[in-house]
Subunit: 137 residues, 2 copies
């Protein structure tokens, strides 16, 4: 409300998550040489997989502390917060870890146009192949 | 129907997917030194993220050809087909690729107990943190 410009104050800040220190410590970031794990960002409302990006321990800590997604870019070798340039912010509702502690699911409220840098809602807008799933008996 | 044992014939075979050769060729498997991309396996019915595993070009080709998920194990350095040991098979309905061609979403019908080696339906059964998402105005 008291931000330096109306553009900044027009979008809400994130809220820090309540989190479990023991589970956080159980994450295994170093299976990968770069200390990164894939983070599957999923729409909290309808379950659409929006994007896959990468987090190290620091990106996860920043995500939990800010209530908005932070990632580590493998190509640029730097941290980035989703939406800081585009305005297409992701507010976090839940962070889940997998059985081996080497992957994350992040449930978000997606603001703005969507998650993809192309302007699409999801990065997964192209279908390579389709099939029947379980065939009819 | 004419399988060598009733145990084998009790579960249906997969059906090959129809797929787009041009999109398949647009996948960029070599951003990662190992030639692998993360494959997010999602329940085709309710959208639950079941597991994250890895595919190279060959694992994806086998998945499209068999209609069941094939992955590459980073630790064992070998191909494996989900459910071949456990019986918890994944029949593929759709394979989607992301904007950069370096991640996949695989929509499946999950048979058996579930996707996780622990017996859980999803590998993401633990919640590290929770928050409100977009805070109330």
């Amino acid at each position: 409300m008291s931000g330096p410009s109306s553009e900044v104050s027009a979008v809400p800040e994130g809220v820090a998550l309540a989190f479990d220190e023991d589970l956080l410590a159980a994450m295994d970031f170093h299976k990968d040489a770069d200390g990164l794990v894939p983070a599957v960002v999923q729409d909290a409302v309808d379950g659409t997989v929006l994007t896959v990006a990468y987090m190290d321990a620091e990106a996860l800590r920043r995500t939990l502390a800010s209530g908005r997604t932070w990632f580590y870019s493998r190509s640029r070798r730097e941290y980035w917060q989703k939406g800081e340039t585009s305005g297409d912010r992701q507010y976090v509702r839940e962070v889940r870890m997998d059985c081996d502690g080497d992957a994350l699911v992040v449930l978000v409220d997606q603001h703005g146009r969507g998650a993809c840098h192309t302007g699409a809602r999801t990065c997964f807008y192209r279908t390579i192949g389709t099939g029947p799933g379980v065939p009819a008996p």
